[in-house]
């Protein structure tokens, strides 16, 4: 007995990539792209209307973005499996996306065969995580690789970290906290060590990635 085709909604912001992937996927037996979207909002709308079996979605899409779209589609109630594709692998993001309801997560550095495998696996109700991402996730859950390195900071260290990550100078921070510049620098180096970063900018980027600091809207 022939198995029914897996109906796919393809979401990517680059039209040339979407168009090529659609043709490559349609060449695969069993796979059929039934719709295409270029933003998070459109992905949510089309999922409701088309009720695909699988949504293949790039995480870095305009509008509400891949994470929020994943959350809304998975909460939509329909039995839709979501496979997320990422251009840049980040150790924090897979967990957030899987929590949001994604069934699969893979790097855009995979081949079309792996995408096809992932779609079939999640369509059976299982999870699929590509090897490179699985490795990163596994490493981050080992001892010493706790979820948030910020949990290990003392109150004072946290305070200094926040001020550095917001772009304040050592001079300003020492003024605000009534501590010498030397003491602030000692805190900074301790922070570098605890957070595994090499400079203030890396520290700020880590804080932004963890959602502890947001991008300053005004200089």
């Amino acid at each position: 007995m022939e198995q029914p085709e897996i109906r796919i909604l393809l979401v990517d912001h680059q039209e040339m990539v979407r168009c090529g992937l659609q043709r490559l996927l349609n060449d695969m037996p069993q796979l059929c792209v039934v719709g295409e979207a270029c933003s998070g909002e459109e992905a949510v709308q089309l999922s409701r209307r088309l009720k695909p079996d699988v949504v293949l979605i790039d995480v870095q899409i305009p509008g509400i973005g891949g994470l929020e779209a994943t959350r809304r589609i998975s909460r939509g109630g329909a039995d839709i499996r979501i496979v997320v594709m990422a251009s840049q692998i980040d150790d924090l993001f897979p967990i957030r996306l899987l929590d949001a309801g994604a069934a699969g997560y893979l790097s855009k550095n995979c081949g079309i065969e792996e995408i096809s495998d992932a779609i079939c696996v999640v369509n059976r109700g299982e999870r699929y995580i590509s090897a490179d991402i699985a490795r990163q996730m596994a490493l981050s859950t080992l001892p010493g690789g706790e979820q948030s390195p910020f949990g290990r900071l003392s109150q004072r260290e946290l305070q200094v970290m926040l001020m550095v990550a917001q772009g304040q100078s050592v001079h300003d921070i020492s003024g605000h906290l009534c501590l010498s510049s030397k003491t602030i620098s000692t805190y900074r180096y301790r922070l570098y060590e605890k957070l595994g970063v090499g400079n203030d900018v890396e520290l700020a980027r880590l804080a932004i990635r963890h959602g502890i600091v947001s991008i300053a809207l005004q200089p």
């Binding site: 039209e15 979407r18 090529g20 490559l24 840049q88 772009g167 300003d172 520290l203 990635r209």
Partner: protein, 228 residues
């Protein structure tokens, strides 16, 4: 879809394009769209601009197409480097729309065409056909934005006043590189890097490197993985 003029393309072998993109899946997608036209083909793929230069030395493509997400400085430096090595091969860059300063500097560096990475397949074909004829192509939206900047009363971008080197140092600092790493990358001393960094801080009226990073992110010049 915009097809190349039949007179020049009929009976001829397809146009060789060297595609620069770090992601296998994206390369596969673009390759399929180009090869389906019948007159375009991806003859080689490279994950970065240095690899592209190596490949182009071995077999010269007719166009080099650069589609690198994430790092503006990589695109700017990489495309400029390719241009210097192969001044006669047209380079077409797919760049993020928000990065006006990067697109402008790319054109100044001699890149043949600059289109939005979100452009339609039709526009991509037009851009390829245009640069192949030896002409330059910029997307309508980019042309409009660049023209607007020439008008009186237009608020200048804070980055306009940065020299090429200063812009490079600014972007690398914003990506979290330390002084030593920047010095090695640019083949200059640490003291020189510090000089550039201090001038950037002064020109942009910033106090700290972290402030520079926030500014770069706000202007879409730098992205942090895992955030949207």
């Amino acid at each position: 879809m915009v097809a190349l003029t039949p007179s020049t393309q009929a009976e001829e072998s397809p146009v060789d394009i060297l595609l620069v993109d770090s992601r296998q899946l994206v390369r596969a997608g673009i390759e399929r769209v180009l090869s389906d036209t019948g007159h375009l083909t991806v003859s080689d793929v490279a994950a970065n601009c240095n690899e592209a230069i190596r490949l182009a030395r071995r077999q010269k493509p007719q166009i080099i197409m650069v589609n690198l997400p994430g790092s503006s400085v990589e695109v700017l430096d990489g495309a400029s480097k390719i241009r210097r090595q192969f001044p006669d091969i047209p380079i077409l860059v797919l760049a993020d729309e928000s990065e006006l300063i990067i697109q402008e500097r790319l054109l100044q560096a001699g890149v043949a065409g600059c289109v939005s990475s979100l452009c339609s397949v039709g526009e991509l074909f037009t851009a390829i056909a245009t640069v192949l004829k030896g002409e330059r192509y910029i997307s309508d939206s980019l042309a409009r934005k660049l023209a607007e900047r020439r008008l009186p009363g237009y608020e200048a971008s804070p980055f306009d006043q940065l020299t090429h080197r200063e812009l490079q140092v600014f972007l690398l600092v914003a990506e979290g590189w330390d002084t030593l790493a920047i010095a090695k990358e640019l083949c200059v001393t640490r003291k020189t890097v510090n000089g550039y960094r201090n001038r950037v801080l002064e020109k942009l009226h910033m106090q700290t490197e972290v402030e520079l990073m926030h500014l770069a992110i706000r202007h879409g010049l730098v992205r942090i993985p895992g955030t949207i």
